[in-house]
């Protein structure tokens, strides 16, 4: 670490530990006894900055790495410990707000199960080793054969160093793996309106018609969209229509929730388009004739029969879309997680086109002037590619960081076999997850609150910002190193050119950004750090519309089974939240279950299968079976069963282990026809009662208000009378 950093961080030497003690232990004894003298120690500062005052919290700006959203955060630091995270009000991404995962990032930082020292596999088991041993081992193995990197979503200068290192060791493949993504939607946008990441103005829309896009919880940048949703709900109040097979958080807030047969979202969109054109005289300008004829085939009745939604509801949706303009139509989540995913997204964009939303509520985003810094969102197609390539023996050396392929991969794509075929596996991680515990070398990383970095948020409006990540405190585990530092070191020892002048990643980052900002003054740099972000040049894009290929292969499976939906939840996310007690104990928004997985079933289905709430059910697909407890409610299509992703770890730590099940394992290899995204909502399963009952631990034992005025509801019409809006 460079001297400059040492000085800046000097205050982090702790001063006492007030409050952390068991505060009430002695308060019943006579006060002369409790008032101890010379029991506790105080360690004074060495040479603090003048703004550092013991007993007064200082807020430092950084960036949240809970998901790819890249929200800017402020961390409250007191006596050298970071105590609380809050959103950075100046951020255009999250405007000072934060989601539960962002709040809980603290616990991944102070987690008792973090890796303290490098681990090296010696005759079968991982044993602690020194950094030098680990690095030299990598040095000798790394250049032997075809190398590759697997990361999560990655951007900014971390991406640059990773790619530098990759090319230095002569590898080419970089698999960016994110199970929860909006890849299908973004690809469709790229193909059809010419901008993979358009700006979506929920606040401007009067109606949001969302095909499974859970923009309040898991879609691109949840906090940003939630913030805009707040404005969308204020006067004049917009209407939210959500169509999906199993209720997501967004669905839970919908005015009209349309429980639809899994995989038939395209038909619904076509049906709505049909009603719009025939009943409400909306001209399908810019729509190809092929699409037009497809629309004509899907009159509401037909669509209704395909996607198991009453025809009048389809007409109602059309009516409300026609009446209130501008509107916005989104597709994502479960709608795009099946073979027809792409066409669902295309259909959604088609609706936007005929409703004239493009250019109004969907406007062109901006493109980073430095593509090499841009965000690689990552997707699950890469996961499959990784498995395939590994099995083909295309990979000899693999570096993994920020993703957990062995947990995310369905058994059907044979990731385990592939993994064993890889000769030498290095995992950079702060937690010993499934992948790390199967690696040959594990390098312990500093937590996201101890590390330097620069990030490009997945989504932001207006100017593009480079979000800065800076350490908020001294490493909790002294022998861990920052991701940048490690990769930079690897790149150097692999002989990458032009890196020798930087003795650590901080130095590299700082000079890189000074080049970017064309200034090298300490003052400027500190102002960047204070702001936590800095604008970077970006180019505008133009929106056009070329009709996308829409095709509906109706879900006509008649095997008497159900469609398994591996639902994505805010909280556990793709499993990275499973070892944070706060998230484990924060109830799921819809089912309100804590500390375990559950299987959502419709009462009708449950009755026919003889399953009661809390029964253990066995969910069997062609690739194995999982057993978890049933949660019975009416927010799911009778033909579907939903199990959340994220639990069911065999490693990762004391809170995550042996807790719940992982539905991803039993997915069949189905993918989206166009993008190759793993279809998480299309696996046919058969469900049996496992014959054991143990009530789920959930917040709500009673789902009804029993005549109490708890959540009072008034109709929108009344509200408009009093508060205005049309």
């Amino acid at each position: 670490m460079s001297q400059s950093k040492l000085d800046r961080r000097q205050f982090l030497k702790g001063l006492g530990l007030g409050g952390a003690g068991v505060a009430l232990a002695g308060c019943d004894l006579p006060s002369y006894v409790t008032l101890e003298q010379g029991e506790e120690n105080v360690i004074s500062y060495l040479a603090p900055d003048e703004y550092v005052i013991p007993g007064v919290g200082v807020w430092y700006a950084s960036t949240c790495l809970g998901c790819a959203g890249g929200c800017s955060i402020h961390g409250r630091v007191r006596e050298g410990r970071v105590l609380k995270l809050e959103g950075n009000p100046d951020s255009s991404v999250n405007m000072g707000r934060l989601c539960q995962m962002g709040q809980a990032t603290l616990q991944s930082h102070f987690n008792p199960d973090r890796i303290a020292n490098p681990l090296v596999r010696k005759n079968g088991s991982l044993v602690e080793a020194s950094w030098d041993d680990a690095l030299s081992l990598i040095n000798e193995k790394a250049n032997s054969g075809k190398a590759a990197w697997a990361t999560g979503a990655i951007s900014g200068h971390q991406r640059v160093v990773v790619e530098t290192h990759l090319s230095a060791i002569g590898g080419s493949n970089h698999y960016a793996i994110e199970q929860i993504n909006a890849n299908v939607w973004q690809t469709a946008c790229g193909d059809i309106i010419g901008d993979p990441n358009p700006e979506i103005h929920l606040d401007k829309a009067k109606v949001i018609f969302s095909l499974g896009a859970d923009f309040l919880a898991t879609f691109i940048s949840p906090v940003h969209f939630a913030a805009h949703y707040g404005e969308f709900r204020s006067v004049p109040r917009g209407t939210l229509i959500q169509a999906e097979p199993a209720m997501s958080l967004t669905g839970g807030n919908a005015d009209h929730w349309v429980g639809i047969k899994p995989g038939t979202e395209t038909s619904l969109a076509l049906g709505v388009a049909n009603a719009l054109m025939n009943k409400h005289g909306i001209s399908g300008s810019g729509i190809s004739n092929a699409t037009k004829s497809l629309i004509n085939e899907h009159d509401p009745a037909t669509a209704a029969s395909i996607c198991d939604v009453p025809a009048d509801r389809i007409e109602k949706i059309a009516a409300s879309l026609a009446a209130n303009s501008p509107s916005i139509v989104l597709a994502g989540g479960t709608a795009t997680a099946n073979a027809n995913g792409y066409s669902a997204a295309a259909a959604a964009l088609m609706l936007n086109q005929i409703l004239g939303n493009i250019g109004v509520t969907i406007t062109s985003g901006r493109e980073l002037a430095y593509p090499q810094l841009g965000l690689i969102e990552g997707n699950s197609a890469n996961l499959k590619d990784l498995a395939v390539d590994a099995n083909k023996g295309k990979i000899d050396v693999l570096f993994v960081s920020g993703t957990n392929p062995l947990f995310l991969a369905p058994k059907s794509i044979k990731m385990d076999e592939g993994w064993n075929k890889i000769g030498f596996k290095v995992v950079l991680s702060s937690m010993l997850d499934e992948t790390a515990s199967a690696a040959d070398v594990v390098l312990p990383l500093a937590s996201s609150l101890e590390d330097w970095g620069s990030h490009i948020p997945a989504y932001s409006t207006g100017t593009r910002n480079l979000a800065l990540q800076q350490p908020l405190m001294e490493p909790v585990f002294s022998n861990t190193r920052g991701f940048g530092d490690v990769v930079l070191g690897l790149a150097k020892q692999a002989g990458a050119p032009g890196l020798d002048e930087y003795d650590d990643y901080y130095g590299y980052l700082r000079s890189a950004i000074s080049v970017l900002k064309k200034t090298d003054s300490e003052k400027e740099w500190n102002s960047f750090l204070m702001a936590g972000q800095t604008p970077v040049p970006s180019l505008g894009r133009k929106l056009s519309y070329i009709d996308g290929k829409i095709s509906q292969t109706a879900n006509t499976a008649t095997d008497g089974g159900l469609t398994l939906i591996a639902s994505a939840r805010m909280g556990m996310w793709d499993g990275r939240g499973a070892n944070l007690p706060w998230l484990q104990e924060s109830p799921d928004q819809i089912s309100k279950v804590v500390w375990d997985s559950w299987a959502e079933l419709h009462p009708k289905t449950a009755k026919s299968l003889g399953i009661k709430d809390g029964d253990y059910v066995t969910i069997k697909s062609s690739n194995g079976e999982i057993t978890t407890r049933a949660f019975i409610y009416k927010g799911i299509h009778p033909g579907a069963i939903a199990v959340p992703i994220g639990r069911g770890h065999s490693a990762l730590g004391r809170y995550a282990k042996n807790n719940g099940v992982n539905p991803l394992f039993i997915l069949d290899g189905g993918v989206d026809a166009k993008t190759g995204e793993i279809a998480t909502a299309a696996t046919r399963v058969e469900v049996k009662n496992a014959g054991k009952n143990k009530p789920l631990a959930k917040l709500m034992e009673i789902d009804r208000q029993h005549g109490r005025k708890l959540v009072a509801t008034i109709s929108a019409d009344k509200q408009r009378i009093t508060e205005g809006g049309t």
Binding site: V22, K84, Q584, E585, S586, Q589, Q705, V711, S715
Partner: protein
Amino acid sequence: MSSLFGNILKGWTDYTKGIEEGGHHKYEHMWGMVIDLDKCTGCNACSVACYAENNIATVGEEKYKARQSMQWLRVERYFDEPDIDPGAIDDENAMQERGASFLPMMCQQCNAATCEPVCPVAATYHTPDGLNAQIYNRCIGSRYCANNCPYRLRVFNFYSYTDEDGAWPEPMKQQLNPDITVREKGVMEKCTFCIQRIRAAKDKAKMENRKVKDDEVKTACQQTCPTQAIMFGDLLNSESKVTQAWERQQVKLGKYKQDRENPKLRGYRVFEELNTDPSVLYLERVREE
């Protein structure tokens, strides 16, 4: 004797006035809240922020199931909508036609709190800030207050969570907020409207010889709420947003029945009819019919 009896008993009576006598006769503040249920998405960010801010212990599955959880702020979820279509929930074969209803419930900081008069040791009482305070180190754990809370919003330390296999194994202890006590077993606790933040703001204001500004105090839940559904402020400060919101909804403190000329307004207080006089105003959820 005078110094011991006189003054204390004088100070004592300050806190024993019910709302019908105008409550505490010299309020400095009256902290209140407004929660817009139409904006609340039930995302739980507030709840987790509360854990982070207030040193709340996590209890694990078994204890949670046994209803011994410690959360101060619970986001309740209901599937029925008695005001829009009662009985919709009774049709077992239908599917949900609307979303769920979410209700963030934290201590309502009642001004005629049912928990206050029953505490044998006066560990819970009404402060000059209009808060319903809980003094942990005075509490002896008779749990009468919790029994008497119609909202069930007081949580009790049924176990000790401070040892190594408790809620904060090393190094998680380091995250504990030094501004608040870590509660031991046998102590009642509840939402405090982030009293440590209020106190910090008041100290700051006093040091600068000024009044506390509106928006100077932000509770953890309000600060983090992605849709800004939660509003917090001083009801004695006529400029504050909260006061204005209360006035807009024509809801007044100290009443168990609001006589408003416009019955269509959305403001209501939970169990207002019990005359607990809560300081948290909820705005009814809006739904398209």
